[in-house]
């Protein structure tokens, strides 16, 4: 029979179908058998794309941080940070969830570095901060109860022992923080029916999303932590959606509900601070 090469467009004689080299150009040519049965149509999907339990990504890959032995620690960390914080949708959709230890280590490093910088700032601004806190506490109802307590000293970083204790405790606190919050998020994900890939996926997301907390190392006390926390919530919400193969609504609900409880306390603290500051202004005027 006569066949035509799709590469060089020249014809040649052959006596079989299938893949074979073109005698003119040498390229592989596939000659389909016209008597062969047509290929079966793809089976209908049991779940719509994006439904829980359906693998969205064609292939999962290790995060760059998991390849730190070959990439080097700094490059592996920076590459992972950029992916987790700047491209969370793409990253969490395809990251492997079977080795959450890498994610936890990544989160612990991020939070520890941020904590160390905050401790450093606290030690540098200790005296000023302590004076400010004490002045505010004088104006806050029952604020006198806090005067000269560990709280004021700790917040102001006034004692050397306290500073060293914070530096040493930072990695352990970070580790506990990641596991506890992963557990809390998992509770809400389970209740919402959005934990199809288990706790390992949740822990992986919390670990890598904790990279955003590194922003807390910026020398802007208060604001840096606010930005870091907000960024973490965004990254974690997108991460839960992608890693747990769930919907945006469920992922955002699971991330937001625990923070609402925390926000009650934070709002109350903010209200007290504003109340205290306005009292300062009134008294000062």
């Amino acid at each position: 029979m006569l066949a035509r090469c799709v590469h060089c467009q020249k014809t040649f004689d052959t006596d079989r179908f299938g893949v074979q080299p073109c005698p003119h150009c040498g390229q592989q040519v596939h000659l389909a058998d016209p008597t062969a049965p047509p290929p079966a149509p793809p089976a209908p999907a049991a779940y719509p794309p994006g439904a829980p339990g359906v693998p969205w990504a064609a292939a999962e890959a290790d995060a760059p941080f998991a390849q730190r032995a070959t990439l080097g620690w700094v490059r592996a960390y920076l590459d992972t940070w950029k992916l987790a914080c700047l491209q969370p949708s793409l990253f969490f959709r395809s990251v492997k969830i079977t080795s959450p230890g890498n994610a936890v280590l990544f989160g612990v490093i991020s939070m520890t570095v941020a904590s160390w910088f905050q401790t450093l700032y606290g030690a540098l601004m200790g005296a000023a901060t302590r004076g400010m806190f004490q002045e505010i506490l004088k104006q806050v109802p029952q604020g006198d109860r806090f005067q000269d307590t560990w709280v004021v000293q700790w917040m102001a970083g006034a004692t050397a022992i306290g500073t060293v204790a914070q530096l040493i405790a930072a990695p352990f606190v970070s580790l506990v923080w990641i596991f506890i919050w992963a557990g809390i998020y998992q509770l809400f994900l389970l209740v919402l029916g959005a934990a199809s890939r288990g706790f390992e996926a949740t822990l992986t997301v919390v670990g890598y999303a904790s990279g955003a907390l590194l922003i807390g190392a910026a020398p802007v006390p208060g604001l840096a932590n606010l930005v870091a926390g907000t960024w973490f919530i965004f990254a974690a919400s997108i991460g839960f959606r992608e890693a747990q193969r769930t919907t945006s609504a469920k992922a955002w609900a699971a991330t937001s509900l625990p923070f609402l409880a925390v926000c009650l306390c934070c709002c109350a603290a903010g209200w007290l601070m504003i109340f205290g500051l306005s009292s300062l202004k009134v008294h000062g005027g």
Binding site: G101, V191, A195
Partner: protein
């Protein structure tokens, strides 16, 4: 949840067991109640927040004061007891070389619903107690 040990390294269950054990040591031996931290929500509203009394409950239970722990926060008492019991059981499981028990997803979900319901009930109880006081 991931199975226990892989290649001799502690897994997720062991880390939670360590956290549970550490919480007992902290509650028993660190002067946590000496920090005098007041809940901002309670200061602003006069009412306890959802997690108020947890530290007192952990410390009281670590000292064997079950009534004091319950009075401080029923959920805190339950959480402390559960965490420490879990730490002991997981230690025994690892010591005996047993695998982590595999629960179906529905059982995990039921546990999660029960936990969050308990937290809500605990807060309602705390608010009621504060109002009665």
């Amino acid at each position: 949840m991931a199975a226990g040990r892989r290649g001799g390294r502690p897994g997720i269950p062991e880390v939670f067991a360590l956290i549970g054990a550490a919480s007992f040591l902290a509650a028993r031996f660190l002067p946590l109640l000496g920090i005098h931290s007041e809940c901002p929500f309670r200061l602003a509203t006069g009412l306890p927040c959802a997690t108020c009394g947890m530290t007192h409950a952990f410390v009281a239970l670590a000292r064997g004061d079950l009534a004091g722990a319950w009075a401080a926060s029923p959920l805190g008492a339950g959480l402390a007891g559960g965490a420490w019991l879990y730490a002991l059981l997981d230690l025994a499981r690892v010591g005996l070389g047993l695998p982590w028990p595999s629960l179906p997803q529905r059982a995990w979900r039921a546990l999660a619903v029960a936990t969050l319901s308990a937290a809500a009930l605990n807060w309602a109880w705390m608010l009621w107690c504060a109002r009665m006081a």
